[in-house]
Amino acid sequence: MSEKLSNNGQLLSAITNSIVEGEPDETVDLTRQAIEANIKPLTIINEGLVPGMNIVGDKFQSGEYFLPHLIIAASGMQRSMKLLEPELQARQQAVERAGTLVIGSVAGDIHEIGKSLVGTMMSASGFQVYDLGVDVPTEVFVAKIRETGANLLGLSALLTTTMTVQRDVIEALEEAGIRDQVKVIIGGAPVNQEWADTIGADGYADDAVGAIELAKQLVG
């Protein structure tokens, strides 16, 4: 029994290490091994994956790690979560979600990177994320919030010509009567806190890590 526990402990710390070392294939492989070893899915998440993401986040904040480390660690986490979700359902368990986010670049704006970065990082931070992609029609945002009951909406705009669409989306939410249901956060190069205040958004962040903190404040 004690030997098995120690093996399980080693497996979980190997999962943590694979996240920190940026080896997503290994993260997935080890997660599969952990499931086969009958480690509880919530244990795998809370004692294997999440500590790894926390270390990666700390290293990013301290300047040791860079965006590729962050994204690749997050993608390993996401892929492992896909394996774990059926296991959780079989046990009628669910991961405690910090919130549900619908995110996309607004109509007319085809910029992807910043928006995807925020989506990936939010997902790795425990949010349920629906990434609608780029050039998302305003009504599609509204429909997706209705469908998912999301409590958070992220609107990205990289151009001065498309940032006004962020306001259009907020107005559409009001017309649809669901403005109170979601907190709206905005981002993008030309956007700042002043613009967020002007259009009645709930918050603004200028990078992915800031977006996570903001989201946790708003709906956490």
């Binding site: 860079f66 994204i71 993608s75 990177i113 995807s116 700042n192 200028d206």
Partner: protein, 487 residues
Amino acid sequence: MRPKLNILSDEMADQIIAEGFELLMDPGVRVHNEDAHKLLADAGAKVDMETRIAYIPESIARRALETRPSEFYLYNLDGEPTVYYGGDSIQFDPGSAAIAILDSETQEQRPPLTDDFVKFVKLVETIPQLDAQSTAMICTDVPGEIGDLYRLYLALNYMRKPIITGAFRKDTWWTMKDMLVAMVGSEEALAAKPIAVFDVCPSPPLLWSDLTCQNMIDCARYSIPSELVSMPLAGATSPVTLAAAVVQHTAECLSGVTISQLAQEGAPIVWGGSPAAFDMREGTTPMGAVGTWMIDCAYTQVGKRLGMPTHAYLGMSDAKVVDAQCGLESSGGALMAALAGVNMVSGAGMMDFESCQSYEKLVIDAEIIGMAKRLVAGIEARDEPIALTLMRKLGHRADYLAQMHTLKWFGKELYIPSSVIDRGTLDGWKRKGAKTAWGRAQDRVNELLATYEPSPISDELRAELRDITTKAAQKFGMDELPPLPRD
């Protein structure tokens, strides 16, 4: 392919070399040193003892060019060869012998004290972009007569990297040599694995002072590397045309190599300099002038053509505060030096011509040097085919941040600056206090100093160094040295 700057055509470089040899015979080289007179005369050069002018035949200088090493290494205190003088390798050290330090609080120049230089040496140790130390400033809390050796004493107590130094007197050279020998154990060990280079400076035009010539000869006799610092001032102490200034530089360096090799065949010696395009309005010697950089790059090309290791004083500024001029001048010189393949580029931290050192400028210059090193590392294919496999896999998805390929290569392909360089958003910058480069550099200095690890030398060795230095100080009326700052 390594990007490389050749500023002279081969034909012009050869003509400069040919004219350099001719100057050695007519008008000859004035040498105020008896050892050199004897060495030159014994080798067959005519020396006029009245005018002190030596007429050096090309054959003697050519022979010296055959015996001088075309490459050598400097070693750190762990005995590792960390600086390579040879080929197109580039390395950087701080500018040396500043007579002022830019005060971090007042941003005004003041005379350096022991504590200032110790802090500077520690900072240099922690800056990854810097390959060597230098005796970067002259402390004013000891007698001027030991100003040179006291710098070396302080540096040796705190450094691991090799050091570029120099003597201001004939007798102090011996004390400095004794310190270096104490560091490595014996004269043989110092010759086999040198940890220091001595700058030796001919006086323009075509003159060797007694002091610097003797330093060069003494270095050669102990196989300690010396570095020629020829400094034509175009339009003042040399012809104004850049090509002619390089001819003068060539002749001065050829005479130095000749005297050094006559003293000791095979002694390591570097083709270096600190020329300037004279400022015709102020009468000053700008280090930030494009003409200065051009002379440096041209003489470097000449030195390489003669198979010499090379050095230059570049990457400095004439600005009095750390401002836009300071950055632009330092960048220009450092990038040119890197492209020219100067083996040792001295100048980091230095401003106000070559008179004032600054901790803050040093950490800003470190970023310039980082970029310069990245530049000359060039563009490599990395994969074969270069892009087809990866780009066909991703198609039109802008998802490169999430690729293992990115994680594998970004650190090598992209130079990542420290927090001295601001690349945040406007809001991000404001959140961090809306600091200018000066303010960020102040933070960086403190951050780096906190990572300094003490030098590994023994207490016995520290005591020996202190003993050697104290004896020298006592000759000039100082019974006890200022205390070393506590860690």
